[in-house]
Symmetry: C2
Subunit: 351 residues, 2 copies
Amino acid sequence: MAKKRMTGAAVLTFEHISAVVRAVGLDGFMDDIISGLRCAGTNLDTQATVVLERSGFQYSKPDVGLIEWMPSMELGRAVGIKTVGYHPSNPTQRRLPSVLSTTSIHDTATGQLTALVDSTLLTALRTGAASAVVTHILALPTAAVVGIVGAGAQAVTQIHAISRVRQIKRIIAFDTDPAVSATLAARLPLAVPVTVVETAAEAIAQADIVCSATTVDIGAGPVLPDHGYLPHVHINAVGSDFPGKMEVPVALLRAALVVPDDPPQCLREGESQQLELSELGPSLPDLISNAAQYERYQQEITVFDSTGWSLEDLIVAEIALDHARRLGIGMYTDLQSTPADPYSPYEDVLR
Amino acid sequence: MAKKRMTGAAVLTFEHISAVVRAVGLDGFMDDIISGLRCAGTNLDTQATVVLERSGFQYSKPDVGLIEWMPSMELGRAVGIKTVGYHPSNPTQRRLPSVLSTTSIHDTATGQLTALVDSTLLTALRTGAASAVVTHILALPTAAVVGIVGAGAQAVTQIHAISRVRQIKRIIAFDTDPAVSATLAARLPLAVPVTVVETAAEAIAQADIVCSATTVDIGAGPVLPDHGYLPHVHINAVGSDFPGKMEVPVALLRAALVVPDDPPQCLREGESQQLELSELGPSLPDLISNAAQYERYQQEITVFDSTGWSLEDLIVAEIALDHARRLGIGMYTDLQSTPADPYSPYEDVLR
């Protein structure tokens, strides 16, 4: 058998990503991302790592949706740009995920595209991993009951990621669509009892950890109740990612330590858009760098305002690429021109 | 032979682009782009077509360079995002083009990536085509002598494109590197006498049309002389694309009708950064829409401030994709997930 070509730009499709995750194992792959985020947060050099706020197009034709780009750079090494589409009618109208994305990686020495990575699953995984990193620091070590508000795709990766840092004994799940919450247990990669409830209030009442991951409409939130929580609850608020889209009531945020993953972005489109800058707690990298100092908040109400930090996308794409190259998975191609004469653009066409 | 797969996301590498251009013919492909730009300019609906200014990372480590993204949207249809690297030391240090780029195209109905297109050659072609569209309107119909300042890769596509709208009889070329100007004639896809000269002043003195396409350093410009032009000269200024990078002296700009391709972007990083908004002439789409009205400027000095308009990249990528699909060229793959259950991110991994 000819040796598989492994040079040039890497293209990792969804099938390749699935093959990598299968080969590494779902738990091992999630642990790699959790480690990668911890490492990036601990060693963050804000001179060398530049994370830009996302920007994009928002529209309501043909349906409500947006296409955004999330750029980050590790100076002297690589630029990662994730382009992400959010089309909330995808699951019901097209059997497609509401969030679809790809990440391109560019070499800062040459400008060459070095990789294109399907990032739909990777985005869900890294969003879970970020919640796990924060949950590990801010939830009680004995936290065992997870309350779910919004039981779609992200609930699966949130629960899986949290299961890597806390021993989950029970899940209490609510979704506005009972057909969705009914299938949650079957979609999980771990065996844990799931109780389906009919209100968000029931889902959070006994929860040590709450994950909210809804597609609530702009202006229709919040989706979580004002009160009725355990005094030590840690909340991962994952769904807010758009101006006007909110899941957590402002009174609850004001009573909590709020950890924004990316403060300017969270103030614009996260739960933190309900707060002033002075009301925010540490950013995600600050929390990671000073984890011991923040563990005292395990006894108190804490909220992770997770809007998606661009650097997470570069990290998870590079983890997938490293495994893919090691395992011989992926398409490798000369995507861009390496002409015989860089001054002669037609030479390769005409020869 | 199995029928080649033509569904899913299209990946067009440099080899595919070369094959398309060979099949269509260099002249025919250039004519398609010229027509495409004219059509887009004439029919531009500024409600439905949204062209954003580019944004990006600029750095000086490991070498001076930048990686930028240029997004545009045709509402209800597609978003195009070109990512472009500009690394001026590429040709001399790495035998790579200084400008390398790819364009991704996204469906605004679903957010799916529908195509990834190597755009290095396409960018040079569309930059040439834009100059041809403007030259056709603003240069004398009898214009026959082209002065070249900067005889690298872009000079080739500028001359080729202009040859599709004017009968070029002679080229007078200057480059700071005589080894580059010496090979210009051999790199052209048309037979026309090239006179190599030793100064920019000699290159422009008899020129009906001037093309400047240099990699002049930031702060080191201008590269064109203040005076010594024919009174009807039309100048395509292609090289300026960075704050502080300029090719045309401000006195010459002030004496000319200046056509910025994208006014806000030109004011920031084009020749127009030396001017006030009130000193600018029509934008590229305004010029195209009102071509007859501007033909009276053929007798006067005119400057096209070409910084690269994002919509050009979407147009040229779609022309290439249409030909590729028709010709059966390209890789077609399910790049992104189309899961059996959009709420079950692990299903395809675990099955």
